[in-house]
Amino acid sequence: MSERGLHVRLSQAAPVPLDVELSCAPGEVLGIFGPSGSGKTTILRAIAGLHTPEAGRVTVGGEVWLDTAAGRVVPVHERAIGFVFQEYALFPHLTALGNVLVALGHRPREARRRRAGELLDLVRLADVRHRRPEALSGGERQRVALARALARDPAVLLLDEPFAAMDRAVRRRLQDEVDVLRRMLDIPLVIVTHDFDDIVRLATHLLVLRAGRTVAAGPLQDVTSRPDVGWLGETVGAGVVIDAVVARTHDARGLAELTFDGGTLVAPDQALAAGAQVRVRVPAREVILAASPPERVSLHNVLEGVVAAVAPDARGTVAVVQVAVGPTRILAEVTRDAVERLGIAEGCIVYALVKSVSLEVLASGAG
């Protein structure tokens, strides 16, 4: 376990029942996903010190911030945290610059203004630095909140549903910015959200929470490739999220080749550059299984793999099949009837067919 990382263990019965244990190493992004009321914000607040659980232990970089057994509770203002609230929580009577300056008290007086300027440049708000929050747009306010959180030189960055109040376009841009920032920093980042899109874009690790308990936890690809998908509910469909690299683009044909660990995927070219890192989500519903490779079809993606697991759902009409394509696992959602007809079982060789247009490709880095 990395010394500089975040380690949390919490349990309580009230006001929100919780019983979790999690870790996040520097440079990792832990997404905590779950429905409202599942306790995810409580976890974040406990890490920050805004809430003290009945029993728990929180250490960051070797420092113990909370240890109920030993009776040690470090107050909020003594923890080096960067907290971005859902409602931004900016100080209304201060300008953007003023807001950031508040968090720079730990730095020598002469260096504060300069550092505040740097941070505002980082989030591209230099020209509005003298505006008050009421004169800023939602996206700008959140960026001020980010700059202010970073100003603290935090040991851990905590984001509480940071994009919840925004429309899609603004959210996309901010997600990219957060992604850029986290690559620059070398601290654990924990983001709490009920929007899976945030997870797909930003998280390296995923913890799924329901009713205060961990349903699944681990690296993003591993968790999303698990066949027991009941935890996702109706809001998110099953589908593995994998990291890939753009190998080549065929501009004339409007296609891009994405290489992942175990194979290649072809997706429509969306102004991707060769060598760019991307995330690809393969919706399980869009994956067709074939016992033999088809001929003369429109599909670009035909992946050969071995069936690793078959998991029927509760009613038994639909099954999720986990297919191992090299070391990467892909999920396919098909009917039980199809499973029986094709005789799909563990160890069989199958072909996973995915329409290129069904792939969700997310480019990281500023757009």
């Binding site: 609230f85 409602e87 008290g105």
Partner: protein, 222 residues
Amino acid sequence: MDWQAFGVSLALGLGTLVVLLPFALWAGHRLAARSFRGKHAVEAVIAVPLVLPPTVLGFYLLTAFSVRSPLGAAFETLAGNALAFSFPGLLLASAVANVPFAVQPIQRSFEAVPVHVREAAACCGLTPWRRFLRIELPLAWPGVLTAAILTFAHTLGEFGVVLMVGGNIPGETRTLSIAIYDRMQAFDDRSAGLMAATLLVLAIGALATTTMLARRAGPVRE
């Protein structure tokens, strides 16, 4: 126009402010900050002078100030005078009677500071004292000003408590409101009318100012 009484009234108003505001800032802030067991009881006790007849307050204060009580005896030893019928005694009585006028507006304005803003301030590394000075107080100042104006205006208008605890000692406890009463009993309606009009104008001015402030403060926008 009894200028001496006017001076006593002003001194009483300002003195009450000086004594009461620090306490009200502390109490209003604490009551706004958190819920604790017995909070409602505390709020009720603070509000008591609002509903109590001045005679009840006067009665208990006189008992507390009498030379037979520890407080009265101590003052007597230190100052050589009785606590009742003296300006310090009146100041103390006025402070007690004005507690709700000072505490309640301040408590409301601290409550209006969004909880997330306070938490964000803590997350920025501000100690509770610095949070109070740099974030909460600047956001709550209209309520503090309202409390100050209301307390001052209410003190100017006090009668029952002043009469019972202060008597009518010229230059010491004869406030403007008492002077009006005094002049009426001497059939000097002209004087009484002039002083009454003065107090009326001051009261209207104070209320107009607080209304304007309340509108200006409004909900805290982010």
